[in-house]
Symmetry: C2
Subunit: 487 residues, 2 copies
């Protein structure tokens, strides 16, 4: 009998017995798996779902439960806040956010379908209060629905697409709305008859005549063989928690110490590759250090270790953080005046590196040569007073002079500060959720969505909060439906 | 019968007849294939080599014929020029040059074996004049042997490893020493009995019981079946000429218009992936715009579109060019004073974007805000006069004030200037030249080297001239030998 391996499917001829028989087998019970299960079951398929942990959640449950939604004239929350978000603007933003890694077909599909998807989420029971919370927020701390969660209002995005807030957050007081989001979706999947098995870890796919026809799962220390007559859906997340995979595929993350993930060890990517799929943009990752909290700090200016600015700081905090990681050296500085300073979050590991009555004193405390940071801030302040940022096109109200002494430089250190991250690369899939082979042809019987694929959030520098859950839920549904409709 | 495909090996059971029978079949007759053929034949194996073009060459023949060699106290050319290059310094440099993508095992193997490899190349008939040509050269225009071909003498490399020139160029008057290099290696392979077939394009591998046992080649519009009893060696180059692969795997190159390559369409990478291999660091690429010619221009200062410097310009021209491509916008500027200006190479597509009697006038001509470029140059010149570059640690003699009016800004435009490039990502191989599967285990019977693999030149920002031919020739030999010694 062939070996059980993540790296190559087991031939069906080597299956000793079929322990389970279903139409659609789903791996992983985060938002992706739950949405795939709901759609497959609603389409009439028998659905079994296997989760390696003792309960649902995955990385989705660690999130804020925020989903990036817009287009089609806007959601109820957008419209009542005065934003008539067009599909074209929404698609344009999504494509810019994908940068060089963009999958335009997925962007168009989502831009067209996002409003209906939002209504579907509500129909599953996800509650939204419906109100708009202006300002810069990582997540609402109350139960507000709609926030600015990306770089929509910042250059260069705002020059190409009319900006609108698009982060839609489940009604939930405090951070961590991802947990109830998954709970609601799981309950819905169960109501529709999905047969959920926890403590069941996928260890191999099963193939027959070039088609994926099942799955081997490890339950109670035994291999159990799952026949999946219509297909297998992978919803297993990225590989932030797998250091060997990070070293091989995404080595820039090795200097960061705060992966966001549950058991995200890339198992779905490995299974998909072994079945003839391919992985793309594996070097891409999201990262952020929570520098916009407290909120005053969002008005700060970033410089690198040479005292140079490098981005318009009014864009998404994760875009700023990701650009910070491209700078020479091992740290960047967030410059604030007394009007915009509060103690940083303890969690953030952001320290005070220098202070002074003038920017030149701060420069000297940081041991930067005279004429660097001081000159940068003189130039910035002179133009900010005129309401302009000729270098990076930062805009009001975030653009404001920092000229009330004393001054401070906070240090965001790539190794010791809290630079959270997760991976964005993964299996190449069609907009229908099919895993594509290297020849561009779907691997028959194999589907995937979420962070085990390269999807809407394809490019670290273009990430916006809610893009990943949008991708998980929208393409998770499609993957489940594509499997259920097969053959 | 199964389909003939790059993406999956043909089962041996479907082979209608074996048209050729050999021990080692090699795909591609560039430096990699020739070296693999020489070693395999010298080890007593029957060798057949298949080249899709009508003659030898590949991208190797388009190169300068420069090989990066050092360590072990230095080559004859190094020692007679006063450089006693230690293996440790050489290995340290190679590892820094690999950046986050480094394969330390390959670096150590090459650092230890490079001197013997150089002597082997001479024994194959490659002529070296043996002299040292100081200064900054892309390639010697005479027949000199030894040049500085990387960032050895520049920060941060020179702080970690004692610098030495390591670019060893075949004796050949003028550029283009790659052509005679391949010719000599090809002749040597023929002398040893390698059976070379041109106009023979590889279209599939053949497998039996999980081993690669042959190759399908297209000759005279017919499929011909090659039995390779010991193994197949891929030496097919990168994918610079395959726009679809670039879009999928290395999309940052899409804005560049000058690929360096012959038929480099990634066929070997596809064959290897289909056989269970894996591709790594596919987003990495080498790029350069020939800005150090004429030589005076090497003394210039680079600024991005914000008027900021971004690198110590005394490092390798390709490292500067690659960092330029990371800057915001679509161009960078090379600043020169009259003492260091000559007309740029016409080939380079470098234009004059601004001139002035002061740097402030140049700044205004480039429509940069007052206090940007002018301040950058005032700061640079003040420190250069003291022999220091406190920002990027550029060093004398390249560090020199640019203060003799008139001044000029040359534009290096990412789209319209000649930013040549080739890809660096490829199959993951062992230091013995075996193609590794995703589980880290060699794919039995499959070997590869050169730019269809990720090797010594793994990271675009660390490239040094001669690293790729070093990789092709050294690991090409190992791949051929590993195949010949098998089973």
């Amino acid at each position: 009998m062939a070996e059980i391996s993540l790296h190559r499917p087991l031939p069906a001829a080597d299956v000793p017995q079929w322990d389970f028989d279903t139409d659609v087998a789903i791996v992983g019970l985060g938002a992706t798996g739950a949405c795939a299960a709901i759609e497959a079951a609603a389409a009439g398929a028998r659905v079994m779902l296997f989760e390696r942990n003792s309960g649902s959640g995955g990385a989705s449950a660690l999130s804020g439960g925020e989903i990036y939604v817009g287009g089609n004239g806007g959601t109820d929350a957008q419209r009542s806040a005065g934003f008539n978000d067009s599909t074209e603007d929404f698609a344009t933003y999504l494509k810019m956010a994908g940068g060089p890694c963009v999958d335009k077909e997925k962007c168009d599909a989502y831009a067209q379908g996002a409003l209906a998807h939002y209504n579907w989420l509500k129909a599953q029971g996800i509650p939204y209060r419906g109100n708009y919370l202006p300002g810069k927020h990582i997540e609402p701390v109350d139960d507000s629905t709609l926030i600015w969660s990306g770089s929509e209002a910042a250059a260069p995005f705002c020059d190409a697409a009319a900006p609108a807030p698009r982060g839609h957050v489940i009604a939930h007081v405090g951070w961590g709305g991802g947990r109830p989001l998954v709970d609601i979706l799981e309950a819905r999947a169960r109501d529709l008859g999905a047969d959920i098995h926890c403590d069941a870890r996928a260890v191999a796919l099963i193939e027959e005549d070039g088609e994926i026809v099942g799955l081997v799962v490890r339950i109670d220390n035994l291999n159990r063989y799952v026949r999946a007559r219509k297909g297998v859906v992978l919803g297993t997340g990225g590989f932030a928690m797998n250091e060997a995979m990070r070293a091989k595929y995404c080595p820039e993350t090795l200097r960061l110490n705060s992966p966001i993930g549950d058991k995200d060890d890339g198992v779905g990517i490995m299974l998909g590759l072994g079945a003839g799929g391919e992985a793309i943009h594996m070097e891409q990752f999201f990262s952020t250090c929570p520098w916009t909290m407290p909120e005053e700090q969002a008005y700060g200016v970033f410089v690198n270790s040479k005292g140079q600015r490098f981005i318009n700081e009014d864009c998404y905090h994760g875009r700023v953080s990701r650009a910070a990681l491209d700078q020479p050296g091992d740290r960047v500085y967030l410059l604030l005046d007394i009007a915009h300073f509060s103690q940083p979050l303890e969690l953030a590991g952001i320290t005070i590196a220098g202070t002074g009555e003038t920017w030149e004193e701060v420069e000297a405390e940081l041991e930067m040569p005279a004429g660097t940071l001081g000159a940068t801030m003189a130039f910035y302040n002179a133009h900010a007073r005129e309401g302009r940022d000729p270098l990076f096109d930062k805009r009001a109200p975030i653009l404001t002079p920092l000229d009330q002494a004393p001054f401070v430089a906070l240090e965001l250190n790539f190794t010791t500060s809290y630079f959270s991250f997760f991976t964005l690369g993964g299996l190449k899939t069609s907009a229908r959720g099919e895993v594509l082979g290297r020849d561009g042809v779907p691997v028959p019987g194999l589907f995937a969505a979420g962070r085990c694929t390269s999807g809407l959030p394809a490019w670290g520098h273009g990430y916006s909060s809610g893009l990943s859950l949008a991708d998980c839920t929208f393409f998770g549904r499609r993957a489940g439906l594509s499997a259920a409709m097969r053959g």
